[in-house]
Symmetry: C2
Amino acid sequence: MGRWEPNARGRLAQAAFALYGERGFEQTTVAEIAARAGLTERTFFRHFADKREVLFAGADALRELLVDTVAKAPMPLGPIDAAAAGLEAAGALLQESRELAQQRQAIIAASAELRERELIKLASLAAALAEALRQRGVRDPAASLTAEAGIAVFKVAFERWVQETNQQDFPRLIQESLDELKAVTAGR
Amino acid sequence: MGRWEPNARGRLAQAAFALYGERGFEQTTVAEIAARAGLTERTFFRHFADKREVLFAGADALRELLVDTVAKAPMPLGPIDAAAAGLEAAGALLQESRELAQQRQAIIAASAELRERELIKLASLAAALAEALRQRGVRDPAASLTAEAGIAVFKVAFERWVQETNQQDFPRLIQESLDELKAVTAGR
DNA sequence: ACGATCGATGACAGCGACTGCCATCAGCGT
DNA sequence: ACGCTGATGGCAGTCGCTGTCATCGATCGT
């Protein structure tokens, strides 16, 4: 048996998630989170860079999945379709824990600070996607543009997926949103 | 003659801009900014919501111009073209002070915190654009999608405009980027 | 088995962003 | 002249976050 209870990071994340949900992000102090996890404020900051980062711990895995899927997409696929494949894979991953994603999104939507953090995570996703496209031989500005547009599609589809009461298929929503974008850019 | 020197807000903004440029955003304290402007820290926060907001004072005017231009665009124009008209107008406004925009962008690029703030301003621009499109009768998700894609085009064009040494026409870059997006979404 | 080392944590001081509250004081209207 | 207003100063306080050092089981080498 260890000197400390195991999984400190997990306990901190769980405590933070619960408190953000109960009182809201701004009304929760890091000291309170740490106390609920049976730890100290200092230890919280050893596990998470800041108070917001707790909610975005899974972002790296999502980015890796996105990049890998784009890299492994069959070469005949054009830029948007390769991007779409990656985004659908990411969507499928999120879909595995829809309940959690909804609660998380409710917390984020209630705080401007958290929305800022979410946007920079999405921008990081866009940058990674653009790089993955460049690896496929797509040149700039097409690569950046496709990546940004892809993330835009993802954002819109995600919003719909989270809001809908009847449980829709997320990858399908991504596909539909992309089709809609294609229609709009084609001038209707 | 007034009790205080005039244009406190302007002096604060100028002092902040100069110090952010010299030492960087994180290495500058609000107390230093206030001191250079001949005021106190407390007064800084009466004029600006926070330390970052100084650099985004003009965002409201940009949004208004965007929305107005979209609203006044001739009705035969489809969603993307109406959006493009608005974005080009916004681009033209920024172009009036290219030097300033470049310095500002250099400061922002050097700070993660400032990049976050910039992204939420762009998101706010996207939301306003989507609303303006809805006012033109465009339905969701087409309105949101067009708005997000439009902002994506704007971001890419802005980046190119700021980086280029040879002074390019910003509205023209927006048009070119939009054409590129159209090509990509059409499957090349 | 024993001592050196390590790694996760606690304890504490300190900085800087931001807020609330009250005081100050020139100008302005009555 | 008098009181009100509005911009500012001053000050205390909270909270996010960091640097530093101490603590003490666990583990490794011998």
